[in-house]
Subunit: 436 residues, 4 copies
């Protein structure tokens, strides 16, 4: 987690105070359930809630942990300082530390997922708005970085929308994966605690009881969660690379928004760097880097070893905080992206109609010209454009062998941009679910 | 793809002949749709199907490709050799190579997913059978590799079942991710081909039309697919590590099946190595290694660059073939795993009742003994077990201070294994969905 | 290993026949050493060399392995078929399979490294030649994809040369890492074999004895080897991205060589795709993907587990074959890259001198103009260029406030390209080690 | 960077104050060089050193950056507040931000490497001491987790020593890789600054001038650095896994040091968890996770894009701080590891001599018994051990067919542990470079 690339709402999830708050709720709800089952006295369960509004003293808990070398025991000791050690004596009864730690982690990841889902909604809203805004803004489509056929800027935004919408569905599935809790004891047998305690705690925290846990909640769930964040990060990189390409000097079809006061911009108007999307490219690498350790965490020894723990102390905040920041930055970039439709047209026409050569080739063969001849005809006119800077359409119109096969109107039609945009509405309907 | 770790059904998917067969189907169905739309003559569409039962000559296609340097053109040229070049002249009209390549890849991945789903079913069946077989086979649960509390072998199988069942759901989702096709032309605008052609081809191949493609199908789909395989591989490792631990000399609670004739086994009965699960551990690393390149493939330049292609030529067969082999090997390992319940009991009793010390401690405090005293009482008896090899229960029964607080029957009860297994049926019902 | 991206010299290293040949040599040299030490009869050692020129029958060995389920035993059985089972009875005495397998793997990796070193030499030669050829070919340097200051194409080649030269040094170090052999028995104690056998075998195979082995050679060596290949692959990607950028339509400062006969090139001269460097980008991902599994292979259980083996069966051929192919492809791309110096100048002058605005700004402040004023002066002239397409130098020369601070000659000097290239020779001397 | 797994000396390197201090030194030394070259007045260079002992105000610099959105400019502005804006006006002249940032990063990484080298020395010292201490402590060697042949605990420490010693050499090489600096201007041409400034600054900071830079120092250097840290982390995991195995209940040949006061230890003496080495296993995953992003950072666009920057803000502190902590923890674990030689012997004799079956088999064949008969003889006695718990040596001595081939003394000799340890001194001499 890099402070520079962090937003407070998400970092708050990973602060000690939040963790202790969730621990408290797990313990208090567990006491309620045990009291309801008659395992502990009701007054003891009620007493725990005295700490409901307490801000736990993180420094004090750290102090105790320095002695006990055990974080959950340190917390429980501190809790007893608030509740009274007599009243608190049934807290955590029959539970194991991991019941608290793992359930807490999943509450945190679930909350993080909720923020990320809201982030995705912002990105989706921006993409949709820009897609409709530039639905008909024609620009050249490129394969291999080379001009291919015309497309529209709106289609570019629409495909990013479709990709991010898939990410939204993936993230919802990933959230469901980790929205489980476990209060099942030292090896998951419920030997010392009734399964109904787990049910109650989970219900109160918005989780599902883990069907079968050991000392821990199985880590394939977390692996899937981080893998999903890795896919989302890669999609961010995908959009970032597009923007970076559009802003490069020779293309300049779009620019990241540049605030008026930003130093250097007007003395060197050619030197506006796509630093936000370059940064997103790097952030994507950081989020992706959490995937392999999350996968390596799945294979634990027997009913658990604690190797996963240090990994998660790193990757859980790292991946969620960085992705949250990145999605917000991305939403801003898309929202404010300065788009230059004229530059798009200018770029497209760089080779004076040559991008239409394939259509002409096809038209000639459809008009009965042999493949070899059609190829030769296109080639000789294309070469004049390429080498002498002539206009492709004009050359074709002046070529008797071409006009013998195609009328001037037919030739003109090959240069009609409407030919390329005729299905844009159909595609938009597919993506945005609205009538074609 | 390592021949030694490959099964024919899966490798067949990745053979050139299969690829060409799928390409043929895409082209032939596309012709049908174009004929139906009146874009090409019906007889030309019908003519293509003359090649329906042809085994395409891979060597011949390679030969042509050596000249054209283009695989799809090479195939089309060869197809025309079968169909007749006149009849074949409308094949591929308005399409781009990627329409064929990407749709084909997704057909292949979908078929691979179907095999993997069947593999998972085998693994699940074996796990379920062994889970019920050993539902009540008690063994010690371990955290940190250290004895904790009793559990049962059936619970171990049941949790692997639950994990693999989650993997099944994930794989079904991943299959849906890549079960799309695209016939949308050079930059995805359908400029030269009607979207209904795509719809028809997809329908005939069991795919969904990609809502919005560029020259290619977006690679976030494939990233999610390979990430899912990586999670499944990690679960395989999880099971493999458990078996390897169980088979290690000092534990020896289970062994991979060892055929009677296998060299060396009976002259060195102590030297039966868990080579299958060690192998699975390695194979898991190989599958996992495909995840990052798949994520790196998402960000392509503009409407496509071809950097993803070489990656997929490697990882698509590698990941699917290796995972298929691994899942089958795993199913066999589980199915035939030789389990030693007596050894489990013997291991559990290694420290003569000491694993029950926590229960005794709890019982003493619940009986009104102060925490400090309870701790002291347990400690002094535990030390006799630890240092002198005494039996914990007997020592407790002989300790007047202990028996002052707990009756012999109460002490005995702490050593009752039924205490630990009382919720096994509940957990099985959660996992296997049957009545508790 | 993908056949399409493989060269025969490297794939030969990984063929079974090569492996068996190396196994033979290890066994035969070991017999020599044992005979020399008087452990086995000299005539038996000599007899083994009867198989010196035998081409081992891979199919036959596979057949035996199908029964024995042990590859080394299968080979030894087959060897005895050639040598005579009586004569061969001391072969492999006191050795363990891993002595043969691990020493063989390192021979293979060492040979692979030698090929890769030769590949790097080809790349280096091409880079050096092109660097000197274009030492003074000016083009715009770009940061963030945005024009910054002039540099030369030669400097670009020179920096790739320096990077690949570092890779050469790294690969030599990596080769040394894995050029060890071990003939130390079941757990590395030399219990059943004299250390002098190891010394002799290693000497004959060009290896160093592993100072301390267990059953296996430690895998940190291999991890370092594959990590190094991953770095080299990343450098390939670095060069590939540069070429891809240079070839994109709007930049077009260079193109991958396009053979005259290559289909489609002249009818669509604008559509020459940088497919080789896109391919290299993908191949780099594949090589890089072998690094993590190699790192995961380091931690083996006790004196060995066999989890590393399946991984190495995959990554050893994959990484070396792919990298060999990629380096050769890269050498060809560099060697034949078509470079367009005029396009470089044209691109540089796209904003009519604006790239020199920083120099002008600096000159004004050095001439005593305040920072604020200097900025204002540059800005107002820059804006005319940016918005009206004027020429920056001309505008400056026509701006009285500017000429009050700088003489026309001083202004002109700011647009002198020699200013930017004056240290090129110094840098070349640093890189190529020749006099400045 | 996780505070819990961080040591102050290493975290200090990554604090803003350290960074600003290094920036200051770069700028001040650069001024000295420029003054020496007559480019700027000597008094201005001298004036900069007024800030030599200033503690830069991080909050103030952040405040300025919030306005300028540029960290280096913010620092320079703050520096001018100390030096005087008139005196400071030549600071940074002709330089580009990256000159400062990249040179600073390499100073930081070099210092981090120095700490890590010292850490490795601690690990090496501990390993060497324990190796000699337990040079002759016999324990069973294990392959596949299965008993193989005897080895000694000293050999285990010695091989970890050899591995870590290789890591030391690798880290020294990696340190040399990143100990370069660059003061070469906007695109690396030294257009605005004399190369001698770079030489002076590098010399004063203990760096080598980067032979050829662009706007940045090439990232293959950093990739190699992080890859090396990844290898070292994997070696830590290797040692950690060994300790974890030794401590598991059924093996219990060693335990991590357990302080007397540590809660729970004496009431549950069987429940001492190897949490330090489990933690090291997880930390190794975290360090390893930085390798791929470092490799992805190599390919930058043209003379630089800034995608690498956010990655390095994460991985540079993460990898170095975590590895530093892990190496120190490892040194402590090794130093204080509690070793149980009796348990080692007990484990080895678990199968009453059966581990010697291979030696007996060999002896029988060497005594002229046919392979088949020898196998049969060993097998029938082994089975009595395996199934009836008999003692292998006693059974052999009582088997007339065995004693017909081998004398009792010869049989006894097969059970002599000295046979297995006879080359320990030779191996130690190889590892520690001392006389055999």
């Amino acid at each position: 987690m890099i402070p520079r690339y962090a937003r407070p709402e998400m970092t708050a999830i990973w602060e000690p105070a939040t963790r202790f708050r969730i621990w408290f709720e797990i313990e208090a709800h567990a006491c309620d359930a045990m009291a309801e089952l008659g395992v502990i006295p009701k007054e003891n369960a009620e007493a725990v809630w005295k700490a409901k509004d307490v801000e736990f003293d993180v420094a004090r808990i750290d102090e105790i942990e320095a002695v006990t070398r055990h974080d959950v025991i340190a917390f429980l000791t501190h809790l007893a300082e608030h509740v009274g050690s007599e009243e608190a004596r049934f807290v955590h009864q029959g539970m194991t530390s991991s019941d608290v730690l793992d359930t807490c982690l999943n509450v945190q990841l679930t909350r993080a997922a909720d923020i990320l889902l809201a982030d995705l909604d912002k990105v989706l809203a921006a993409l949709k708005r820009r897609a409709y805004e530039h639905k008909d803004t024609v620009r050249i489509g490129r394969s291999h970085g080379i001009h291919a056929e015309p497309t529209t800027m709106g289609l570019t935004f629409a495909r990013f929308y479709a990709e991010m919408d898939r990410n939204r569905a993936r993230l919802r599935a990933a959230r469901a994966e980790i929205a489980t809790g476990a209060i099942s004891g030292a090896v998951g047998t419920f030997a010392n605690i009734d399964p109904r305690v787990e049910e109650h705690v989970c219900k109160m925290l918005g989780l599902t009881p883990e069907p079968i846990s050991t000392q821990v909640i199985p880590r394939d769930r977390h692996a899937m969660f981080f893998a999903t964040l890795g896919v989302i990060a890669s999609s961010i990189e995908n959009i970032a690379i597009e923007v970076r390409h559009m802003q490069r000097t020779e293309v300049l079809e779009a620019e990241e928004f540049f605030s008026a006061g930003q130093k250097g911009s007007s003395a060197m108007p050619h030197k506006r760097n796509p630093v936000l999307t370059e940064n997103l490219t790097g952030l994507a690498r950081l989020v992706r880097a959490t995937v392999i350790p999350a996968l390596e965490n799945v294979a634990l020894w027997h009913e658990r070893d604690i190797s996963h723990s240090s990994v998660e102390r790193g990757i859980a905040p790292d991946a969620t905080v960085t992705l949250d920041f990145a999605l917000n930055r991305l939403a801003g970039v898309i929202d404010k992206l300065v788009i230059y439709p004229e530059a798009m047209l200018k770029n497209m026409n760089r080779f004076k109609g040559l991008v239409m050569s394939q259509r002409v080739l096809l038209a000639l063969t459809q008009a009965g010209v042999s493949r070899e001849d059609a190829y030769r005809l296109v080639q000789r006119n294309a070469m004049k454009v390429w080498e002498e800077g002539k206009d492709f359409r004009e050359e074709l119109l002046a070529d008797a062998e071409v006009t013998a096969a195609l009328s001037p109107a037919e030739i003109d039609e090959k240069f009609d941009l409407g030919y390329h945009t005729k299905h844009v509405d159909t595609i938009f309907a597919r993506v945005f679910g609205e009538p074609a």
